[in-house]
């Protein structure tokens, strides 16, 4: 089956099988898991931005009804290893409960176990912690300064990462360019903020030495990390993957919650349940996202061709780091976006501050990078007095130039950017939009057009780990699928991770149905627990369509080959003459001579005497799939192939701004989207629309804001503002399919689509709208009143 081949089920408008249980309220979320004798955990959060913990008085709490235990950081630190980090920073240990020093407001310092969550919260209020407040730092630039308070004194500075890469002859390209432009762009601290908070239920069976974990988790190597921290073999950790996760988009990584509950379950002998409430989640759940300051300089000529770029990215990690610094590394694989920029200097700096810890957020740093790059393209258009769309067209990698090697060592697989853009602006679309904008301006409104042309790296070949931390030599990134056809011919396939709404069961069923030429709905898809699983990853890096789809495809191909071989043997014909069609096998030269599915199943399960020699009985196959284009480590110049596939999205929108109030209104929104072959178009569209909504939030509404005392002040949904149906306009999505040559069906990723370009497009539209006032804004989110204040100040100056 070729990538360009005709598909029966793939790309068809089919329902998503997971939906049936969700519409009936029958998803199985972690909060729905009830184990006998389960106890409930509440946590005590530090009220200071930084403080030494002098003492914790548990006596009053322990006397309260229904209270079983109060755990502090000292006890937990003595009994467990620190949590895994991505960088080699031994003096920046991260633990579930603060030990000796708490480093952000909201950090957990103790945990209470009680018969109910309400009783645990009652007791938490009775615990007296004596704190000695310490100096703190919130701002990344201040954290870099000499004399800044140190978040981790033993580390000696606040810098966890400071690495500069130079790909190509940047100095020469800058010197040769007649034009240069500098821009400072800031991506505000926001995150994915799923509606379900993180939760975990852990039980320990001392007789079997087994830790059973149910969690709303989306984390690679979760079981391994639990075992390592609790000092038990990972084969004693059984993670149940058949828990529905109520949204994640990257951040559901409650390793600290799990280790905390795992320790308590072992210590006390009861199953432990910790479900964050919203406050726990916002301030102490360690689920914030990037807060990144860019200083970008681009060198270009008078016709707007960009030759070179210098980008400095300063990331405010918060108090501790797991994998979050790697979010500076992933964008290296698409550092030049869809453009032919010849050379790049990239300096990535990650600092710790006294803010809540981050984790992975949709796009893993790509959204902020795309914002910086796309803001630059608009500014180039402005200084050259060119149309921003024309500037992009001149710089785009053309369809006939793929595969295309970018300076940082990644080869883009395929693309047809000019066609996607043409489709979006087809006819008079763009000109109409400009006319509409100019008409609004004549009416006294502020109006602007926003464009963003962005890439979505997909597939999860995460070699940025090795690039940023030479101690890491991981080049293996795999996913797996096992298929078993039982004695009655029914098919069961496996996947080996949780899902948080991506429709993976539908994906596996569709791909297997396609390969075996049978109704995908007849393929049962199950999720064994971690001990029964094959080596697999999780839904990160926009990888599942490529990786799980690839694993299911190859496993199904193995099954198809085995069925064909059994039939050929039974028919007494050479393998080459046996034709598999519609779940049967016939003789090419005598089509009536055939073996049905039921007959082949019977042979495999019950008639060993009819099996080809050396064949295993039954119809069980499995495939462990290595990421396409993967398997290499960075060279000495810091070049490496990252993700295999690159989806493209082109945003075009018109918005107006009320000049008195700063209110923005998106009037038109068109998106061109190319993620190769779409396995399920309903899923792709949902992901893309959801990504745009999330991007609108990051651009206009969402921010984990802190006050000068280091207190998180946006810690409820009344202050951290998620877009509602009113804030998300209808979007006209124009699809185009440029298959990837690297994947089994030509598919690319779409799990981050929309989000990776919407903030850039909105920021560009707002800047286009306010440019007539002589002002610009390059800090997200662009909140109503902030924009109103900026416009008012500009009008006063006039």
């Amino acid at each position: 089956m070729s990538a360009a081949g005709h598909h029966r089920y793939v790309s068809a408008d089919r329902r998503v099988r997971e939906d049936r249980r969700f519409v009936a309220g029958k998803g199985q979320f972690v909060a729905d898991v009830e184990l006998p004798n389960m106890k409930h955990v509440a946590v005590i959060a530090c009220p200071h931005a930084a403080a030494r913990i002098k003492s914790i008085d548990k006596r009053a709490a322990l006397k309260m009804p229904g209270v079983h235990y109060v755990l502090d950081g000292a006890e937990l630190a003595a009994a467990t290893h620190p949590l895994m980090t991505g960088l080699d920073t031994p003096h920046v240990p991260r633990r579930p409960l603060a030990f000796e020093t708490a480093r952000y407001s909201g950090e957990w310092v103790a945990a209470v176990v009680a018969d109910s969550r309400a009783l645990a919260e009652d007791a938490a209020e009775a615990i007296e912690v004596d704190y000695e407040p310490l100096p703190f730092v919130l701002d990344a630039e201040q954290a870099l300064e000499k004399g800044s308070p140190l978040v981790h004194e033993a580390h000696g500075s606040n810098v966890l990462l400071d690495k500069t890469f130079v790909w190509g002859d940047v100095d020469k390209d800058f010197a040769a360019s007649p034009r240069k432009l500098k821009l400072r762009v800031k991506w505000g601290r926001s995150s994915t903020v799923p509606i379900e908070t993180f939760g975990v239920v852990v039980a320990w069976d001392p007789w079997r030495e087994m830790l059973d974990v149910h969690a709303s988790i989306q984390m690679p190597r979760y079981a391994d990390q639990i075992g390592a921290a609790l000092k038990i073999p990972s084969s004693s950790v059984r993670v149940h993957y058949d828990v529905d996760v109520g949204g994640s988009y990257g951040v559901k990584r409650g390793i600290k919650h799990t280790v905390l509950c795992g320790y308590l379950a072992r210590r006390l002998g009861f199953p432990m349940r910790l479900i964050e409430d919203r406050l726990d989640n916002m301030r102490g759940g360690d689920a914030h996202g990037p807060e990144r300051l860019f200083d970008v300089e681009v060198a270009f000529d008078n016709s707007s061709i960009v030759r070179s770029m210098k980008m400095r990215a300063l990331e405010n990690l918060g108090a501790y780091a797991g994998r979050s610094p790697f979010q500076l590394g992933k964008p290296i694989g698409a550092i030049v976006g869809p453009y032919k920029i010849k050379s790049v200097q990239y300096r990535a700096i990650a600092v710790v501050t006294n803010k809540t810890t981050q984790d992975a957020v949709r796009g893993f740093g790509q959204g902020p990078t795309n914002l910086a790059l796309e803001r630059c393209m608009d500014e180039i258009a402005h200084v050259l007095e060119l149309d921003p769309l024309e500037v992009r067209r001149r710089n785009l990698i053309r369809h006939d130039e793929f595969p295309y090697l970018i300076p940082s060592g990644t080869t883009y697989d395929s693309g047809n950017y000019e066609t996607v853009i043409d489709k979006v602006v087809a006819g008079s679309g763009y000109d109409e939009l400009k006319k509409e904008r100019d008409r609004l301006r004549r009416e006294g409104k502020l109006a602007g057009i926003g464009i963003a042309a962005c890439l979505e790296p997909s597939g999860g070949n995460a070699t940025f780990e090795a690039l940023l931390n030479p101690a890491i030599t991981t080049s293996t990134f795999m996913d797996s699928c096992r298929i078993n056809v039982d004695g009655l011919g029914a098919i069961t396939a496996t996947m080996h991770t949780t899902s948080s709404g991506q429709g993976h069961e539908t994906l596996v069923g569709t791909v297997i149905g396609e390969v075996l030429e049978l109704d995908p709905d007849t393929v049962r898809v199950v999720r064994p627990d971690s001990l029964n699983s094959l080596p697999s990853g999780t839904p990160v890096g926009s990888r599942m369509a490529i990786m799980l789809g690839g694993a299911a495809f190859h496993a199904a191909q193995k099954l198809r080959a085995k069925l064909t071989a059994i039939a050929a043997h039974d028919l007494g014909i050479p393998f080459e003459r046996a034709v598999y069609k519609h779940a049967e096998v016939h003789d090419r030269d005598a089509p009536a001579n055939r073996r049905t599915w039921a007959e082949l199943v019977g042979i495999a399960h019950r008639n060993y005497h009819r099996m080809p020699e050396g064949f295993e009985p039954g119809l069980a196959v499995e495939h462990v799939y290595q990421v396409p284009t993967g398997g290499t480590l960075p060279d000495k110049d810091g070049r490496v192939q990252m993700y295999p596939c690159f989806s493209f999205e082109f945003h075009l929108l018109l918005l107006s701004i009320d000049p008195d109030l700063g209110e923005t209104k998106i009037l038109r929104y068109r998106l061109g989207h190319d993620c190769g072959t779409q396995i399920n178009p309903k899923i792709v569209r949902g992901m893309t629309m959801g990504g745009i909504a999330h991007g609108i939030g990051a651009a206009l509404y969402e921010e984990f804001a802190y006050n000068d005392d280091g207190q998180l002040i946006a810690q409820t949904f009344m202050d951290y503002l998620l877009p509602s149906s009113h804030e998300v306009p209808p979007v006209d999505i124009v699809d185009h399919e440029t298959p990837s040559p690297h994947t089994v069906l030509g598919q690319k990723g779409s799990g981050e689509s929309g989000y990776l370009g919407a903030p850039a497009a909105i920021a560009n539209a707002i800047n286009d709208a306010i440019r007539p006032l002589g002002i610009s804004i390059n800090t997200l989110p662009i909140k109503v009143a902030k924009l109103g204040d900026l416009i008012a100040a500009a009008q006063e100056r006039k």
């Binding site: 329902r15 998503v16 997971e18 939906d19 049936r20 249980r21 969700f22 519409v23 009936a24 309220g25 029958k26 998803g27 979320f29 909060a31 729905d32 309400a118 994915t192 903020v193 799923p194 509606i195 379900e196 908070t197 529905d244 996760v245 109520g246 949204g247 994640s248 988009y249 479900i275 409430d277 919203r278 948080s500 709404g501 991506q502 429709g503 309903k682 899923i683 569209r685 949902g686 992901m687 893309t688 629309m689 959801g690 990504g691 745009i692 909504a693 999330h694 409820t716 949904f717 009344m718 998620l722 509602s724 149906s725 009113h726 998300v728 209808p730 979007v731 929309g754």
Partner: protein, 164 residues
């Protein structure tokens, strides 16, 4: 305290602490897990139930306050095991969800809307679901699901052609 709750047409005599919210009572006492906790301060709508037919936040009420009123949860609008209501089916048809966490609340809001307004405009639908946050979908396929359900329900209620 002892109260009687009428949930999905069935009376339940139960003991709850006065501070127990209706949401916690439905989930923990009655085992109805379809209503979900999202924010527990009345913003996200994941806990939506029908209270005498109107969509309300079950996290913003005490169970004791619901005594004597008719409570309907997602379990109560599901026609039977494995069977879907026209609204539930429409959500499946358009894929008006992803993770499924906000979905019961959205469907109950749709029930309340369509009971009141069988021909909602897009604006009506957008307004009706604006108190329910979905983080996955960007709402487009939810709006389409409700519009599709409305269309189908109107079809069901249209008089048959008099020709026979």
């Amino acid at each position: 305290m002892r109260i009687e709750l009428h949930v999905n047409g069935t009376p339940h005599e139960i003991d709850v602490e006065p501070r127990t919210t209706l949401l916690d009572c439905l989930r923990d006492v009655l085992g109805l897990k379809g209503a979900h906790a999202g924010c527990e301060h009345g913003v996200c709508g994941a806990c939506t139930v029908l209270f005498d037919g109107a969509a309300v936040r079950s996290c913003l009420m005490f169970a004791a306050q619901a005594a004597g009123s008719a409570i309907t949860t997602i379990e109560g609008v599901t026609p039977g095991p494995g069977e879907l209501s026209p609204i539930q089916d429409a959500f499946c048809e358009t894929h008006g969800m992803q993770c499924g966490y906000c979905t019961p609340g959205m469907i109950l809001v749709a029930h309340a809307l369509l009971a009141d307004n069988p021909e909602p405009t897009r604006e009506d639908i957008v307004e009706a679901i604006s108190g329910n946050i979905c983080r996955c979908t960007g709402y487009a396929q939810i709006v389409e699901a409700i519009a599709l359900a409305a269309e189908r329900l109107r079809g069901v209620n249209r008089p048959r052609s008099p020709s026979k």
